[in-house]
Symmetry: C2
Amino acid sequence: MSCTSEYASQLRARGFRMTSQRLAILHALRHAETHLSPREVYIQAKQELPGLTEPTVYRTLEFLAENGLARTSQTGNGHLRYQIAGNDHHHIVCRICGDEMEVDHALLERLYHKLESDSGYMRIDSHMTFFGVCPQCQ
Amino acid sequence: MSCTSEYASQLRARGFRMTSQRLAILHALRHAETHLSPREVYIQAKQELPGLTEPTVYRTLEFLAENGLARTSQTGNGHLRYQIAGNDHHHIVCRICGDEMEVDHALLERLYHKLESDSGYMRIDSHMTFFGVCPQCQ
DNA sequence: AAGGTTATTGCAAAAACTTGCAATAAGGTT
DNA sequence: AACCTTATTGCAAGTTTTTGCAATAACCTT
């Protein structure tokens, strides 16, 4: 896979290493259609790499998110889920039934610019999750 | 305290009950200047009510948030923190040093309206946490 | 291709959080 | 004021997430 070596060199450029564990976890994220919980990642990736342990999954997901290869989503109950980086969109999830839809990044662009100039903060997180009540549940 | 009975009747109106545990936890949140972790709440509130247990704190915080008496803040690492409801502002926190500043609600008003009309969702969460890189760390 | 440096992993134990269920107590009713 | 109903709590046991440290293995250098 070409993307594999792409990831590897991205890491090496910053002094990190590509490992079979990281690869297995990246594969799991890539093949998922949506974001996964750490446990789901563990179950998926363990099929590819049976020796994989759970602490490694937690540490790796955090590592991938810090380095821009993965992205976190907040989930109301305070548990992070992860997805592969790349699709620049956001989510709005229903507080009641959990239903979820995508929000295009363009909608937030203006807000981010304003926030950046007002606050002086840079690189404001490009994945946001909003919570509301969906039309069904209203 | 007048607010005490205010809270009590808010709950009773919906068929819930006011208890010494809920009161102790509300006090802890009220006296905090910022949002607290469940453990911090536990430690505070236990001083007022020594018999209090940790599971009760978790359940109560979730309950208070669901009923609008408390508010959750997301914290990057995926752990919820809680604060008393009332101040309508948001936070932006630095991904690197953890520094934190307030963002006025007015800034988001336009976005919320747009999101609501585009998506059909209602009552979009009125507390958002953004993540970025603060001026110091840039 | 072999060796050295050190980022990364696995293991084991700790801490944080959740769940089920029987006992308790809030607050409406008599 | 005593009684009933049932929301709420505490306890104990489970699951999830984190942490420290010694062993391993990327990958740079020779």
